[in-house]
């Protein structure tokens, strides 16, 4: 049974209000810079742990408190209403990042590498510290769906705007607005070469990926001729230079003035509106509904979703005119029980380790380098398909995961520290048992546990804790969620 939105909001408000009053709350600790302790970390049921593992970047103390007091369904409802969740702690973590909120013409004067570092740092800090975890996971989902690499042309500063005004703005809004904003986003137009698409001999790159990747899907029923005709509609969609650098503009001189035929419909000459009218059609096309539904199911439920589930989810998409929140609401509340195991992508693995163990991180280069070694630094995937969402892709290389596990547990990553004393007191003399509950949500198989104990052997208290943590982070169990 789920609460009505109104009841839920009231409840969420009470929960958030109650927390700020307490001096022991994570918010207070975050604001004061006091390290979190795990002494009060509450256990959650196996089911709730799974929910948190899949829908957050790793269960924090706060997530555990929330899901215990709300129940999993209301917890999901709360997460689907991120504006109801206070998030001062992450604001505090981001306070020194000056690029957030700056205009493109200002960012264009930044040093390229410094700005890219800051973008990646912000993404990591939000994933580790935001209480709006499902929102952040959806931000990552759409960042992948509308992938842009910062290494293409001016995307190194334009992506900062795209991240803010396209992805973060619409992550839980309406798909139509998201697609519309992405199509008008200078970063996307540069990334897929539409800023040079002109009538003399059109550039098909963006038109193709708009249908293949962003909306209809590769088997969504368009043809090579549709690609070429849509490319003609998109001639003249470009980006301003010089003083107005980094803003969208439509240049009628570059636009093909003749009628076009897209998806069987004659598009009369209408300048910028020609492609916009196709966007309206694509946004709510049944193939788009199926494509988006399939990708959402693969991210959150199962890598091989049954056809009926895809169909049902697509129907919700169409019935709600592409409301992302409504689709998720149904998908997560009704369908989650059908989920199948997924391998954590590098980002899930690294953020998950830090978040679950309440690490204090600056999110800067040293920790980012581990993501790079594993092949998932933020905003750098070169091709427009975005980093894969397939377990088999991500389990061909365990060594960098093992390296990270050992480095994190030993506090050897500059700028990232675990409160080992706090963890020791939470572990209460039996680090392997307690840390397994914390990281895996359950006890290690007794055979594995005694094997690991034996391998670690007779070492001092602190080393035992560190090797237990490293072993658990590196274990097969922690690679799944």
């Amino acid at each position: 049974m789920s609460l009505s939105r109104r009841e839920f909001l009231r409840l969420a408000g009470l929960v958030a209000g109650g927390l700020t009053a307490s001096a022991c709350s994570p918010l207070y600790r975050g604001l004061s810079g006091m390290p979190a302790t795990l002494a009060g970390w509450p256990p959650v049921s196996g089911w709730d742990f799974q929910i948190l593992s899949r829908l957050t970047y790793g269960p924090s103390e706060q997530d555990r408190l929330d899901i215990n007091s709300l129940g999993w369904k209301s917890w999901i409802e709360m997460q689907l209403t991120p504006e109801s969740i206070e998030d001062q702690a992450v604001a505090w973590r981001l306070r020194s990042l000056e690029s957030i909120g700056s205009d493109p013409d200002v960012l264009a004067d930044w040093d390229k590498e410094v700005l890219i570092d800051e973008l990646q740092q912000a993404a990591l800090l939000r994933r580790v510290y935001s209480h709006r975890q499902l929102y952040e996971r959806m931000v990552e989902f759409w960042t992948d769906h509308f992938n842009i690499s910062v290494w293409k042309g001016d995307c190194w500063f334009l992506k900062a705007i795209d991240d803010r005004e396209v992805i973060r703005q619409h992550a839980l809004g309406d798909f139509r607005d998201l697609l519309w904003a992405s199509a008008h986003s200078p970063a996307m137009l540069v990334y897929l070469d539409n800023q040079v698409n002109e009538s003399a001999a059109p550039n098909e790159n963006y038109a193709r990926e708009l249908m293949e990747l962003h909306s209809l899907g590769v088997d969504g029923g368009y043809s090579q001729s549709d690609v070429m005709e849509l490319a003609r509609c998109l001639t003249g969609w470009t980006v301003k230079q010089h003083f107005w650098q980094g803003q969208f503009t439509f240049d009628p001189d570059l636009h093909d003035p003749d009628p076009k035929l897209v998806l069987g419909r004659r598009v009369e000459p209408a300048g910028q509106w020609e492609a916009e009218s196709v966007l309206e059609e694509l946004a709510l096309h049944p193939s788009t509904a199926r494509h988006v539904a399939t990708k959402l199911l693969r991210r959150f439920v199962s890598e091989t979703p049954p056809a009926q589930l895809i169909e049902d989810t697509a129907q919700t998409f169409l019935a709600t005119h592409g409301s992302i929140r409504a689709v998720l609401d149904r998908l997560l509340l009704d369908v989650l029980p059908e989920w199948g195991a997924k391998v954590k992508r590098p980002n899930d693995f690294i953020v998950g380790g830090m978040r679950t163990l309440a690490a204090d991180t600056d999110g800067a280069r040293p920790v980012q380098d581990y993501l790079r070694q594993m092949g998932q630094p933020a905003f750098e995937w070169p091709t427009p398909d975005g980093p894969p969402d397939r377990s088999d892709y991500w389990i061909s290389n365990l060594m960098p995961r093992w390296r990270f596990a050992l480095a994190l547990a030993q506090n050897q990553i500059p700028g990232t520290t675990l409160d080992l004393d706090g963890l020791a007191s939470a572990a209460g003399g039996d680090p392997l048992r307690r840390m397994a509950e914390l990281l895996l949500g359950l006890q290690l198989d007794p055979k594995l546990s005694s094997g690991l104990q034996q391998a670690i052997g007779q070492v001092d208290e602190q080393t035992r804790l560190q090797l237990s943590l490293a072993g658990l982070l590196a274990s097969p169990g922690f690679q799944w969620h």
């Binding site: 897929l192 070469d193 040079v196 698409n197 002109e198 009538s199 003399a200 001999a201 059109p202 550039n203 098909e204 790159n205 193709r208 293949e212 990747l213 590769v218 090579q224 001729s225 690609v227 070429m228 380098d369 790079r372 070694q373 594993m374 092949g375 998932q376 070169p382 091709t383 398909d385 088999d392 892709y393 991500w394 389990i395 061909s396 290389n397 365990l398 060594m399 960098p400 093992w402 390296r403 050992l406 480095a407 030993q410 050897q412 594995l448 094997g451 690991l452 034996q454 391998a455 670690i456 070492v459 080393t463 560190q466 090797l467 490293a470 072993g471 590196a474 274990s475 097969p476 690679q479």
Partner: protein, 421 residues
């Protein structure tokens, strides 16, 4: 450390004179000399995938085609006899009709030795012109998306028992294993040999390794991969990549691709049981500012040409059992677009490099570039299916008799790309 810095350090250490002197004494210091030898085993296969749909017409240029010049006013490479262009900017003629892009000049020695075989107008039947669908199907070696989900190289490994117990039987260079390598046989991705170890205090490392051995016992893919990773760790521990010195004639480009090839050569020479390596070179999706003799594509071709030439020179002692295959998902439109680039096309090419290729010859029937000879919206037609080439390499060079398992439901049409050893 940033990737570029890391490569810089590796390069510096390779070329450091003191290290070089050490290497010249008796055994190279980096070489563990493990015996995984097997007389029945076929060639070492190196698969280079050019990701993004490489423009075949500007790699092996059909300079004998007038249409090529008419359709590419800014992108065409000048004819070999075009005195209007600088000599260094003209096509390097190979057979009077085709020639190298000038950036591929480093491959001339291999061509002259008969060890390089380009196959032109080569590709897959897929007409989606989608990078991702085309790569997915090509790396699985199938035409029907409902076909086997494994990669063709993995099916080759699964169907041929070479009695090779090495955990480094097949390696994907990079952060993750290539699609062609994925399947039932566990395959490891190797980004860098020198990073492939646990970092930290030696005693802690050993305890961690023991702990990992106790945890990765399961008979699931992850359990198997974990055990393979520990065995690779064991093997690579005896290699000292920082003191590896390529043969003098082998100058690898200082790029990720060059570093990948250098590491492949290192594994080959170390005799650690490597049978297959896959490595990628990305960035070929040249819709915009492709360039002719300068610019984006020329840079990629320099990387490709120098890299392959270096690998070929470095592995001079291994030519009789080396097969390198270069492939890409499809080709690009004949006519250039208004943004000095080319859009997605159809037919492309493959390159074979090694001691047993039928070299010094451009393979494949040339379909021509006149409008009635083109395919779809103006693309080079496909006259050789890529599977004909891979299948022959698998059969004749890798000694795999189970070709119907590697390329199910496929009847070969062309042959003669490689010789039986």
């Amino acid at each position: 450390m940033k990737r570029s810095e890391f490569m810089h350090v590796l390069r510096e250490s390779c070329c450091e004179p003191a290290a070089a002197d050490r290497v010249r004494q008796t055994w190279p210091a980096w070489m563990p000399r493990l015996a995984f030898g097997d007389a029945q085993r076929g060639d070492i296969l190196v698969v280079v995938f050019l990701r993004g749909a490489a423009d075949a017409l500007n790699i092996i240029v059909p300079h004998g085609e007038a249409v090529y010049y008419a359709q590419r006013p800014t992108l065409a490479i000048a004819r070999p006899d075009d005195t209007g262009a600088k000599a260094a900017d003209r096509v390097v003629d190979l057979d009077g009709f085709f020639g190298f892009h000038p950036a591929l000049r480093p491959l001339l020695p291999a061509w002259e030795q008969g060890q390089l075989a380009p196959i032109h107008a080569c590709g897959a039947p897929d007409e989606s012109r989608s990078h991702f669908k085309a790569m997915e199907l090509m790396e699985r070696g199938v035409e029907d998306p409902a076909g086997p989900a494994s990669g063709w190289i993995n099916r080759h490994l699964a169907s041929l028992d070479t009695g090779n117990p090495s955990p480094l039987r097949a390696v994907g260079l990079g952060e993750a294993a290539q699609r062609s390598l994925q399947g039932a046989i566990p395959v490891t991705a190797l980004r860098s040999i020198s990073e492939f170890h646990l970092a930290g205090d030696r005693r802690i490392e050993q305890l961690m390794q023991a702990g990992l051995s106790s945890l990765y016992r399961g008979d699931d893919p992850l359990g198997r991969l974990g055990r393979e990773t520990l065995r690779i760790l064991d093997t690579l521990e005896r290699l000292h990549p920082d003191s590896y010195r390529p043969r003098e004639a082998a100058v690898y480009p200082n790029t990720e691709f060059g570093l990948g090839l250098l590491q492949i050569a290192m594994l080959v020479k170390a005799e650690v049981g490597l049978e297959v390596a896959a490595v990628d070179l990305g960035g070929w999706d040249t819709h915009f500012a492709q360039g002719a003799n300068e610019g984006h594509m020329a840079g990629l071709l320099a990387d490709l040409g120098q890299g392959l030439a270096a690998l070929h020179a470095d592995l001079a002692d291994f030519h009789s059992r080396l097969s390198v295959v270069v492939m890409t998902e499809f080709g690009r439109r004949v006519q250039e677009n208004a943004s000095l680039g080319t859009d997605h096309g159809h037919g492309s090419l493959m390159l074979l490099l090694g001691g047993n290729v039928v070299g010094s010859k451009i393979h494949g029937r040339w379909p021509g570039l006149e409008s009635d000879q083109l395919f779809g919206p103006g693309d080079l037609a496909v006259t050789t299916d890529y599977r004909d080439v891979l299948r022959e390499v698998c059969g004749l060079r890798l000694n795999n008799p189970a070709l119907s398992q590697v390329f199910p439901n496929y009847r070969p049409r062309q042959s003669g790309f490689v010789r039986r050893g």
